[in-house]
Amino acid sequence: MTTIAPVELSIYDRMLEAAPEGERLRLCLQCGNCSGICPFGYLMAYPPHRIISFLRAERFEKVLETDTVWMCVSCYACTQVCPSKIPLTPGLMARTKEELILAGNVPSELQSALENSQRYGNPLGESPRKRADWAKDILPAVKVMGQFRQPVDVLWFVGDYPSYHPRVQQTARALAKVLNAIGINFGILGPDENSDGDSQRLAGERGLFEMLAEKNAKSFSRYKFGEIITTDPHAYNAIKNEYPALGISYPIRHYTEFLAEKLDALKPLLKTEVKAKVAFHDPCYLGRANGIFDPPRELLAAIPGVELVELAHSRANSLCCGGGGGGMWLDGFQWEKAHVRLSEWRVQEAMTAGADTLAVACPYETPRFEDAAKTVKGAGQLHVRDISELLLEAMGM
């Protein structure tokens, strides 16, 4: 009797299976658009189109000998312009990073964020028990589902940075107050919430992503709620587009979508003039990856006194803040390679547009842009505000 040994998939085959539609990799024209539009493509030894050509030549090991793939911030710019519609960001780039991780080629900053996510359920390495501490002093009290134990209309998936990062906690508090002001019956998971895992997935840690998703699924199933809203576009993207394939499916909206639909209730409360020339930065995972461009602008336009201006790169052509795909945890590594941060380019664009306020809708962005404003010449006076913070200001709170 002959036994047929299982065939080990080649790296090329594994790449094809790395994402839905991954088969489209076969259609690559080698046009190089992906590498041209990549904000850090000029620093990569193997930008996307070159990875594909080396895969085809069965010389992928050459790619694994380098580390510049870690410059990829998973911003979807390459995927957006690919004429063959290859899922470059979630497929090729994430899979290449996964190969690097399995080969032990992980920058140490990223390693500790991944280890923290494994152990504590958040990349910051904070105590899971303190996940709802930011909400302590808010009235009416923010309901933590594990204590409240009653159904809510809206389950707010707060996210890692709004829960723990001192600057971003301010945006969480602002959004809680806005939701309270329009009478939304909402709750949060608190200690039962884990990182959404999306950035870890795009940084190549697929197993960790699945582990975190399973933990969140367990928490979701424990409570009754009508829909989920998120502060973080990455969490939105994960729960909307990635969790269903793991059998985790819930109605989900980003908070800007949710609030834009509540504008009738919101508008009468926006009485305080906010005199500001505001430029909105489209977050990659709200705009380019999920097509949500208008709701954030509708919210800003509803604020009395706000004059909206557009950045040079806007909407689908937006420029990443540099925090995605693990970029949040590769700051030192990327600085060594680039000596510039994408957030600094973006702040420069805001100055060129004549904005005095840079409005954001992603938790990675407030600290990134505020830090960048300190280093970009002449940008010291630029305000960086989450949309929820501007809404609260317009409510006179």
Binding site: E98, L102, G104, Q111, R119, G125, S127, R129, E205, G207
Partner: protein, 253 residues
């Protein structure tokens, strides 16, 4: 080379520490345990030695909550044999731990035993020297590099003040690792999950634990503020005068 690594779990300082009602111990009921950082380095050093010179690595973890996960992670890194030592180690001191482990390690007939040089809960001294005594082996601590050959190891030992020494030690020996030659490698979750399906954890019962010989803890307490800083207020001249007086009183002016 037959290498044994002893790994213990210690209180995770991300969570707040509370004192037990007895007033002489930590309240362990809410504590989460984490791999002792130095033992993590010992494990990495063991795997590096194996990768360089071949051999077998056995990881021993006393029974705590989370011990299985630590053992599976060791396996995913390259450990060949996993042993969990059963017993009530949560409240055991290092004397008890060393005696219990020595009994198991003797059976394994190791050439080299590695463990972390220290841990955040070493109340009765580090476990390494006590273990070496129980095993009748030589011990070198504060090691940050190991070379093997000819039935000997050369250990790089660090001293305070930037001094280093190369020490030749006859095998079998126990080394207390301060730092592996490279930081402990990352283990992808998918690798650990795969290992969980295939690897086996052997269990040994430590029997009754003997913690005799260790000092008894009289009182355990959070650091207490003894004196407060004095804030000097007033105009610049006032502040300067007051400072000068303080320096004079202290005898430095």
């Amino acid at each position: 080379m037959n290498i044994v690594v002893l790994v213990k779990l210690v209180p995770d300082l991300v969570e707040e520490l509370n004192i037990d009602p007895s007033g002489a111990a930590l309240d362990m009921s809410w504590l989460r345990l984490i791999i002792n950082e130095f033992d993590d380095h010992a494990e990495e050093q063991a795997i590096l030695l194996k990768e360089r010179g071949g051999g077998q690595v056995t990881a021993i973890v006393p029974e705590y909550e989370g011990a299985d996960e630590v053992l599976f992670t060791a396996s995913a890194r390259g450990a060949d044999r996993l042993i969990k030592l059963g017993g009530d180690f949560l409240v055991a001191n290092n004397h008890a731990l060393a005696r219990a482990c020595a009994a198991v390690i003797k059976e394994l007939n190791p050439d080299l035993v590695l463990t972390g040089v220290q841990a955040n809960n070493d109340l009765d001294g580090p476990v390494g020297p006590t273990l070496a005594e129980c095993l009748g082996m030589p011990y070198v601590g504060y090691v940050s590099g190991v070379a093997t050959g000819d039935g000997k190891v050369t250990a790089m030992k660090e001293y305070p003040g930037g001094l280093k020494a190369e020490m030749q030690v006859k095998l079998p020996a126990v080394l207390g690792i301060q730092a592996a030659e490279q930081p402990p490698r990352y283990v992808a979750v998918s690798k650990v999950r795969m290992v969980m399906k295939t690897a086996t954890i052997e269990t040994r019962d430590a029997g009754a634990l003997d913690g005799s010989g260790a000092p008894a803890v009289g009182r355990m307490f959070q650091p207490e503020a003894a004196a407060h800083a004095e804030m000097i207020t007033g105009s610049v001249d006032d502040v300067a005068d007051k400072l000068v007086n303080i320096f004079k009183e202290a005898g430095v002016l």
